[in-house]
C-alpha cells in the first residue's frame, strides 16, 4: 500500500462544543496515537479527508501525516461517519513503524461471475466481508480479490484457499467459508413456509406467564405457607414472599 501525504494541524478547540465548531468550519477532528509518544488531538480539512476516502478502495489508508512540519507514518484506524448523512465525523490515525508488522482488517472482493450463478441459478453469498491480515505497512493490500468464476452451486471458498499477496499473512481458521454459492429458496418452499404460519391474529401470541382464562388467572392455587407464584402485577406480593399466604387471597379478591 502506498502512503498518501496528508496535512493535519494541532487541534485548537477541544471537547464537544469545540469539535462541533470545528465541523461547522469545514474541519474534522482527529487523533493520532501509537508508537512511543502520547496521543495528539488533530484537525483535518474535511474536503481533503472526504476526497481521500472516496478515491481509495477501502478505509484502510496509509498516510504520511505532516503535523506542524513533523512527518509521521500512520494507518487510518477508524473513520466515524454520521449515521444519517454519512459525513465524516472523526478520524483515528494509528502511528506505525515502517519496519514493524501490523494487523489490520482488509475487505474481500470477488472477481468474475461464479459458474453456479451463471448456469446453475445459484446465489453468490459473502459470508465474511473482512479478513485479518498481518504485514509490513508497505505490503498491506487495500483489498483481497478472490476469483469466484470456478465456483459451482453448493461449493465455497475457504480461508485456506485464498492466496495471500507477497509478504502478507492471512490470519484465522483456514476452514472458515468466505464466499459460497447457494441455491435460492424455491417457490414451493416459500409457499410452504407461508402456509405454516398463515396470518395469526394480533392477539394470538403466547405469553411467558400464560394467563388462564378459566378463573384461575395468573396465580397458582394459593395454599397458606406455599411459595407459589403470586398474581401477575402484584408487586407487593412478589417482593414479600413471607406474606404469600396473605397475598394469594388478596389476588383472588381482585378477580
Amino acid at each position: 500500500m502506498k502512503s498518501v501525504p496528508l496535512n493535519a494541524f494541532a487541534r485548537t478547540q477541544g471537547r464537544r462544543a469545540g469539535s462541533k465548531k470545528l465541523r461547522e468550519s469545514g474541519r474534522v477532528p482527529a487523533v493520532i496515537y501509537g508508537g512511543q509518544v502520547k496521543p495528539v488531538s488533530l484537525e483535518l480539512d474535511a474536503r481533503v479527508m472526504n476526497d481521500l476516502i472516496h478515491h481509495s478502495v477501502s478505509e484502510n489508508i496509509l498516510v504520511d501525516l505532516s503535523v506542524d512540519s513533523q512527518k509521521r507514518l500512520a494507518l487510518v484506524q477508524e473513520v466515524q461517519h454520521h449515521p444519517l448523512t454519512q459525513k465524516v465525523v472523526h478520524v483515528d490515525f494509528h502511528e506505525v513503524s515502517p519496519t514493524e508488522k501490523v494487523t489490520v482488517m482488509v475487505p474481500v472482493e470477488t472477481t468474475g461471475e461464479a459458474a453456479g450463478v451463471k448456469t446453475g441459478g445459484g446465489v453468490l453469498q459473502h459470508i465474511v466481508f473482512k479478513l485479518k491480515v498481518r504485514a509490513l505497512p508497505k505490503d498491506l493490500p487495500e483489498q483481497i480479490v478472490v476469483d469466484v468464476s470456478h465456483l459451482e452451486v453448493g461449493k465455497s471458498v475457504h480461508l485456506g484457499d485464498i492466496k495471500a499477496p507477497e509478504g502478507v499473512e492471512i490470519l484465522g481458521d483456514k476452514k472458515v467459508s468466505i464466499i459460497s454459492v447457494a441455491l435460492p429458496k424455491t417457490e414451493v418452499e416459500e409457499t410452504a413456509v407461508a402456509a405454516e404460519g398463515a396470518a395469526p391474529a394480533a392477539g394470538d401470541v403466547e405469553m411467558l406467564k400464560e394467563k388462564k382464562e378459566d378463573g384461575t388467572e395468573g396465580a397458582a392455587p394459593a395454599k397458606p405457607g406455599d411459595k407459589a407464584a403470586p398474581a401477575k402485577g402484584d408487586a407487593k406480593a412478589a417482593a414479600a414472599p413471607a406474606k404469600d399466604a396473605k397475598a394469594a387471597p388478596a389476588a383472588e379478591k381482585k378477580k
Binding site: L84, V123, L124, P184, A199, A202, G203, V205, E206
Partner: protein
C-alpha cells in the same frame, strides 16, 4: 406471513418514545445494498410484509434479502363507538419502532439496478422517506 413475536412476557405495552437517531442497525451488515429510513415511524407488520413481497417479486427469486427490523411492539385500539375508560383496549397489531438511520432491508446477489428498483417499489409501501445505500459507497 405477517411478522409478530411468538411469545411475549406481557401483551400490552407502553407507547415508549421514538426520539433520536437509531443507535444500532444503522450499517449494511449482511448484504451489498440497503434501504435506510430517513424519518421515524411505527412500521407495522403489514407494511413490512408488503415491502417483502415487492422486493422478492422484483428480484424474481434471484439474490437474497434480509429484513433488518422486527415488529416487537404491540399496539392496542379501542373498538368503534366505545366510551373512554374501562381499561386498556385489546391488541390491534404489532409494530417496529423505526428511527432515522435504521436499515430496513438489505439485498445481495443482484445488480445495483435491480436492487435500486426493488427498494424503490418497497419504499412506496412505507409511510416514511428512505434512502438507498450501498456497503462500499457510504454516501450514495
Amino acid at each position: 406471513m405477517a411478522l409478530q413475536p411468538e411469545r411475549v412476557k406481557f401483551r400490552k405495552m407502553h407507547r415508549g418514545n421514538r426520539a433520536g437517531l437509531a443507535y444500532s442497525g444503522q450499517t449494511v451488515a449482511f448484504g451489498e445494498y440497503g434501504l435506510m429510513a430517513l424519518e421515524r415511524c411505527w412500521m407495522d407488520s403489514k407494511q413490512l410484509e408488503a415491502c417483502r413481497v415487492a422486493i422478492t417479486r422484483n428480484m424474481k427469486r434471484h439474490g437474497k434479502m434480509w429484513i433488518r427490523v422486527f415488529p416487537q411492539k404491540s399496539f392496542t385500539k379501542k373498538p368503534l363507538e366505545t366510551r373512554m375508560g374501562k381499561g386498556k383496549a385489546p391488541l390491534e397489531g404489532w409494530v417496529a419502532v423505526i428511527r432515522p438511520a435504521n436499515i430496513l432491508f438489505e439485498v445481495d446477489g443482484v445488480t445495483e439496478a435491480i436492487a435500486r428498483e426493488s427498494f424503490r417499489l418497497a419504499a412506496t409501501k412505507l409511510p416514511i422517506k428512505t434512502k438507498f445505500i450501498s456497503r462500499h459507497h457510504r454516501a450514495v
